[in-house]
Structure formats: C-alpha cells, structure tokens
C-alpha cells in the first residue's frame, strides 16, 4: 500500500453488504482510489488514512439486533464527509439520535425517488430518480440537524443530509446497475462534496505497483 500517496481516497466501511465490492468498483470507474476496511475500524485509524470521504456500506443486520455490527461513532465527528447507504444510513440515524424501526413497509427492487430541498447529492438529476431498493427496516425519526432530501413511496426518509456535519444517508442503492443514474449520485458525493480528484487510473496503478 502506498501510504504516502497523494491520491484522493475514499474509505468504505464494510458492514457485510452484497454490494460492497460494487461500491468500490463504481468509485474505481470514477477514477478515484478507494479502500475497503472492516466495519469496526476505529475512527483514529480511519483519520490516519486521510480520506476525502467515507462510505458506509449496507448490510444484512438490523441496527438493534444483538451483535449487529456497530460503528465507531467518532467517525461522524472527524469533519470528513460520510455517505451511509441503507444499513449505513440506519447506523447514522441510530448513533446520532434518530430512530430506526421495522415498520413492515419493506421495499425491494425498483422504486422512484422524489427529490426535494436541493441536495448537492442530486445536482443535475432533476426531481425524480429511478432507484433500486433492498430494505426491511426504515428510519422513522431523524437526528437533530438532519433534513429530508428525497422520499419514495414506501420510505419518508429515503435520502437525508446534515450539511453542517457533511453527513449524508441514502436508503436506496446508488451503486447497483439498476439505479441507472446512481453513478451520478456517487460522482456528486465524490467530486462536489468530498472534493476528490480524478487521479486513479490503470496507468497510475501500474506506475505505483
């Protein structure tokens, strides 16, 4: 690993999603370097990697399950932008004072996100986005400082943000191929919010290897 590398980098915390490697692949396709680390990596270790941004993957657990993988909540106070996807969003809500419950309103497969409140995450995407879901639990109350920036038929908190803290959450999966414009959502996170540079190409991979 090139610790002294001057690349932009994104750290992905893996909570056991089927899609963790898909997230990494999408970021690679945006020519940004990413690293997948265990879900319980301490905040100090993550800070030492000097990432431009942090992504929390989805996962099969419910946040309130016994033994559910938890996060070092200090991560939210590092001043580094965080994007929580699905389980990642629920962890965020759970740890920052919101509420997550199993409401019985499950969403799987195709859905439509209604975008409002002009989040940077959805810049250039208009007011509707086809999205792909896979969740049973949902967030029912937001932590202080958060606001809703997108809803779906089955979820009132499908996209949320706390601009001050630069913490963002998505209930749907922007990384999967079946969210057709998901790549643009990730690009907004990488380039507008995290200020990443497009400096990770196969060329630089070969040079450094």
């Amino acid at each position: 690993m090139t610790e002294a590398s001057t690349h932009s980098r994104v750290v992905i915390l893996d909570f056991g999603s089927q899609y963790t490697q898909v997230i990494a692949r999408r970021i690679r396709e945006c020519q940004v370097y990413s690293e997948i680390v265990r879900f319980d990596t301490p905040a100090a270790e993550i800070a030492a990697l000097k990432p431009n941004g942090i992504i929390l993957s989805g996962g099969p657990a419910s946040v309130y399950d016994k033994g559910a993988p938890q996060i070092d909540a200090e991560i939210f106070s590092l001043g580094i932008p965080v994007l929580g996807i699905c389980y990642g969003l629920m962890l965020m809500a759970h740890h920052l004072g919101g509420k997550v419950v199993f409401t019985g309103r499950r969403e799987y497969g195709a859905g439509m996100l209604h975008i409002n409140n002009g989040s940077e995450l959805f810049d250039g995407l208009g007011n509707q986005l086809e999205v792909w879901n896979s969740h049973g639990d949902e967030v029912t109350a937001l932590p202080k400082g958060f606001r809703v920036v997108g809803t779906t038929e089955g979820c009132d908190f499908a996209a949320v943000e706390d601009r001050q803290r630069k913490v963002y959450g998505l209930q749907f999966h922007p990384e999967v191929a079946h969210t057709p414009r998901g790549r643009e959502v990730l690009q907004n996170f990488l380039f507008r919010i995290c200020q990443c540079a497009m400096d990770w190409t196969m060329g630089s991979f070969i040079e450094e290897a």
Binding site: R38, Y108, G109, A177
Partner: protein, 313 residues
C-alpha cells in the same frame, strides 16, 4: 510453480474458458482442462463444449462422464444447500480421480513433464465469493453456496488458483474479448455449476431431468430464433414440484409446472425480469406444453433481484 502441473475445471462457460486462456498463456502445457459431465447438463452440452473448446484452444482436455455418480448421490435429496454441497464435494473427488489417471498417462508419455498435479484452477468470480462466504471478517450472510467456493471440502489435495476471483462477469467478458475468444464463449449466458439440479426444485430424478432438458431446449432455441438470446442476461426454465389440473383434448391431466425465468442484468448483482414480447412468451409457452410430455402449465417469473435471486435455488 516449477514442474508442478495444473488442472482446470472447465464448464464451457465464459469464466472457466477465460481462466483457461489466461493460464495457458502463463504456464503453457502444464495446464490440462477437465470437463466433467455431472449428468446435470443441458441437452447435448457435452458435445457442444468439447467441439467449441477444440476449435478455440490448444490445451489438453480430459472428458469425464460422471453422470451416474452424481445422480446416485442426489437420490432423495431435496434441500437446495445440501444439493449444492454434495455436488461441490463430488466434483473434487472426480477431479482427484481424473488427475490420477492423467498422472498415469504422463508416466507412459515421456514427452510430458513429470511433476504432480498440485493446483486446481477455477473460474470463480467475485459474485460467487460474495454470495458464498463472508470476506475478510465482514458480517455478510451466506445467500447460497456456490459449488466452487463454499461447496468445496475443507480438506483437499489441491491448492486453488482463481485468477478472476476479483472480477465481475462483465469484466471477465472484457478480458475474454481481449484474449480473442469467440462470441459464443464470451457472451454465453451464465449457467450454474450445480447445473440443472438447482433448476429442479425438490428431488432430481432422471425423469425430471429429461422434462427440464426438453423445456430448456425450447426456451434457448426460441430465444435465439427471435434474436433475444444475447440481449438478456439469462433465459431458462425451472421445473417446480407442483402439479396442477389441466385439460388436454377433453382429458383431465394432473401434471407439472414449468417456470420461465428471463432476466436482464449488468453484473449479476441485481437483476430484473425482461419485458419480453407477449408473442414470444406465448410461443415458448405453447411449445412447452405441446411438446414436453408431463407439463401442462407454464408460468413467467416476474420477480426482480432482490428480493428474489436469479436462480430458484
């Protein structure tokens, strides 16, 4: 690797074919491919695979007909995970036996190198790994055991070589194109390692295999004739352990149900059912119930992944 030799489990699909092409570049004739007929293949698949392989590769290929062994093993088994694990274990036994035969042949043929077969290569892909095991201590759940990952026995004599383990299928296809493999290999639809065993829900018997093979052949030929085969990710038939009442020529029937599963996907990680033209669906349906004895009902699976998976088991 030195003098050691390598066997590769070839299925004829893009993953193992690309793996074979890559390894052949790397180790030349230290590579031997083994194609096992597990009795769970599609109609005439063993002929097609051997023909296509012979036309495109200059690698030694050993064909092993182990169909009776596999079918005997699956007798009475209905649990999907048990099926997958039994098949994975049996594959390894068959490979071990086949490499012993290869060694014996090598001894008699002075031209070949004399090292043992220490390595087993497989075309394992990233999605196989994701669905089968948790990685790097992450808390992922096992969705289904892929025969080449979680289905392998803990103790085996081989060391595994899996050069495309980090790739998704569309990436493997890019590699295949770069290596100059033909379209019929590179864009062949994915087919599960445990074969038709996971498309026959409930017990796998020779009779049910033959019903499913006939239905599957109709699906493939109609998809190809209508120019849809390469437009979709997968198109296949599933045989349910469900009988229902029908009426054929004024006679009451009480027979099997076949499900059509036709999905589009980019990487196999998420998928959606294909909005196939009604005319094509109608044609496939009527051909199956007319031509396949033992089937009186055809259904179309309109579930996405998630919540369903592409295969039924």
């Amino acid at each position: 690797m030195g003098d050691q030799k390598l066997v590769l489990g070839l299925s004829g699909g893009v993953d193992s074919s690309v793996t074979a092409a890559l390894l052949h570049k790397a180790v030349g004739d230290q590579l031997t491919c083994i194609f096992v007929n597990n009795g769970l293949l599609r109609a005439r698949e063993e002929e097609v695979v051997q023909r296509v392989f012979g036309e495109n590769f200059h690698v030694r290929l050993k064909y092993v007909d182990a169909s009776e062994r596999f079918l005997a093993l699956l007798k009475g088994v209905t649990d999907p995970e048990t099926k997958r694990k039994l098949i994975g274990n049996e594959f390894i036994k068959v490979f071990q036996h086949a490499t012993e035969e290869l060694l014996e042949q090598d001894r008699q043929n002075k031209a070949r190198k004399h090292g043992g077969y220490k390595f087993l290569a497989q075309g394992t892909l990233y999605p196989d790994v994701i669905e089968s095991v948790s990685i790097g201590g992450n808390p992922a759940q096992v969705i289904k055991t892929h025969h080449n990952v979680g289905g392998l026995p803990e103790k085996m004599h081989f060391e595994l070589v899996e050069p495309v383990r980090q790739l998704f299928k569309d990436e493997v296809r890019q590699v295949g194109r770069q290596l100059g493999l033909p379209k019929e290999i590179v864009y062949r639809q994915p087919f599960p390692g445990p074969g038709l065993a996971v498309r026959i829900l409930g017990e796998v018997t020779p009779e049910r295999l033959s019903i499913l093979r006939e239905a599957d052949t109709i699906v493939q030929s109609e998809m190809e004739a209508a120019d849809w085969y390469y437009k979709v990710w997968q198109s296949f038939a599933v045989l349910l352990p469900v009988q229902s009442v029908g009426v054929m020529g004024d006679q009451r029937t009480y027979e099997n149900t076949v499900v059509l599963r036709i999905v589009e996907s980019q990487d196999g990680m998420t998928a959606d059912w294909v909005r196939l033209p009604y005319e094509l669906l109608a044609r496939i349906s009527s051909r199956i119930s007319n031509e396949v004895k033992g089937v009186n009902r055809v259904c179309y699976d309109i579930s996405s992944k998630p919540p369903s998976t592409i295969e039924w088991e």
